[in-house]
Symmetry: C2
Subunit: 293 residues, 2 copies
């Protein structure tokens, strides 16, 4: 039996120490839930920075060595780099080591793990903290990032109950609320509430930025525009990866949106007040309900 | 010669005492720039409320009587009600009275004034304060609403220079920055930075609100979604009016946006990373530049 003072995680390996990975390490340290934090990743510079900031205790550029002593491995690398990570650590995880990730699309991550591990490791718990800012990098990390936020876990049929429980406990210690759902359902929900809005914000700003009088146009952007376009300041590479990883669900949502937008445009064109009012009122009602205290 | 202590406006008549009209009255009182404030409008209840709050000194439900003593008339009624207002005050304005409005689309307002006044009164200065919140009504009004915001005036060929100067001075006293541009250009700029974003926000929330698993979907909306959809809580009637008043420019912007969205969706479908990255990077660059301190 473990003494009561033993931390939840003895050796935590975080692969990809950026905003999410760095904030997780900070939160677990603050909760005294972790012994040693080992960082890893493709580039040395962010790891050195993370070490300087005290976010990690040491780093290993070699992924196999990084996970060698770990009892919990969190892959917080960009979605587009996950395949490389899984290929490098497959077969290198210690027995009973729990493996989880923070990818914003789960179907593609699960597919890559299955392909590269030659099956689904029972210790693998796919996860996704719904948290973040438009900033990125370990310098932007802070221990309260997950407080009051939701973390979605999408356990598979093969997932070990003990591994699931450890990952759940880890996230709860950061102050997050942990929920479970299926992989496909996760990807649908996120396409609707996160991936589509990002696509709309990026497209809007880009459409305006390519107009001839863009300087003039942007000069008159007011507060509403600032809030509306905030997510267009998000990391392009990260969102590129998400779009491709959740391609199918995202394209379905874009189609749905375009159909509705076309319908509304027709109503405006025809001066169809009833349709316009119905859409606006239904939207206001839904949005007001959502954020009612 | 006027004594130096005389206020800029002796008798200010505000037709439509809501968020904008109420905030203007409050700001001008604070600047000691106004003698008497007369409120008018279709419904008595908001006027009684405005009187209780000290925003106006008295009110007149009869529009002709409301403007009878005014040296400045500000029409802050919804765009859809402006025709009725202009019809009621045409021929009733005292000589040398300045007439201005706060409509979010200028082509339609100018058209209505010309039609209902039988020409363009020299004292008419079309205007648009780029300010507001998703709240509405006189209860939401506050004197600082225009501080640091832009007010666009779109004077016409017939506009009297003295009238223009008085309206400019009025808005400057609220702390706003006053700029001038042509009617058509105003409507283009606002379609791009304000009307299109509202349409996108309303459509997105409505699209999601009509999905079968809407309750589940909204539960996982994060901070980005909250900011992105804030403008979908705006007043449906007001935005209905704006969409119809600026129909032509808005539909042109929706077309442009749809074309770009379709282009991006194709790139995602085909895994065309170069195109996706170009759009996202260009958008991030434009947005970051816009709000760089």
């Amino acid at each position: 039996m473990e003494p009561p003072a033993a931390p939840l995680i003895r050796h935590l390996c975080i692969i990809g120490v950026g905003l999410i990975g760095g904030s997780l390490a900070r939160a677990l340290r603050q909760a005294q839930a972790v012994g040693e934090v080992i960082g890893s990743g493709r580039r040395e510079e962010p790891l050195r920075k993370a070490l300087e900031l005290g976010v990690i205790d040491r780093y290993e550029l070699d992924l196999g060595r990084a996970v060698a002593a770990a009892d919990m491995v969190v892959v917080a690398a960009p979605l587009g780099a996950m395949g490389v990570v899984f290929a490098a650590i497959a077969g290198k995880l210690p027995p009973d080591c729990v493996l989880t990730d923070v990818g914003s699309a789960k179907g593609s991550v699960v597919g890559e793990v299955r392909r590269l591990f030659g099956g689904t490791p029972p210790g693998f718990v796919p996860g996704h903290p719904i948290a973040g800012t438009e900033k990125s990098g370990v310098e932007a990390s802070f221990p309260e990032l997950f407080r009051g936020r939701k973390v979605i876990l999408t356990p598979l049929l093969e997932t070990d109950a003990g591994a699931l429980e450890r990952v759940r406990r880890m996230w709860e210690l950061t102050g997050a609320e942990v929920v479970e759902m299926g992989v496909r359902h996760h990807d649908e929900v996120l396409a609707a509430t996160s991936h589509l809005p990002h696509i709309l914000a990026y497209t809007l700003v880009d459409t305006l930025a390519r107009l001839d009088d863009r300087a003039e146009i942007f000069r008159y952007a007011a507060g509403g525009f600032r809030d509306f376009t905030r997510i267009a300041s998000s990391d392009p590479q990260m969102w590129h990866d998400i779009c491709l990883a959740n391609r199918e669900q995202l394209l379905a949502m874009i189609d749905l949106f375009c159909r509705d937008l076309k319908h509304l445009a027709e109503a405006i064109d025809q001066g169809d007040s009833a349709t316009i009012m119905t859409v606006f009122q239904r939207a206001k009602h839904a949005r007001d309900n959502l954020y009612r205290k």
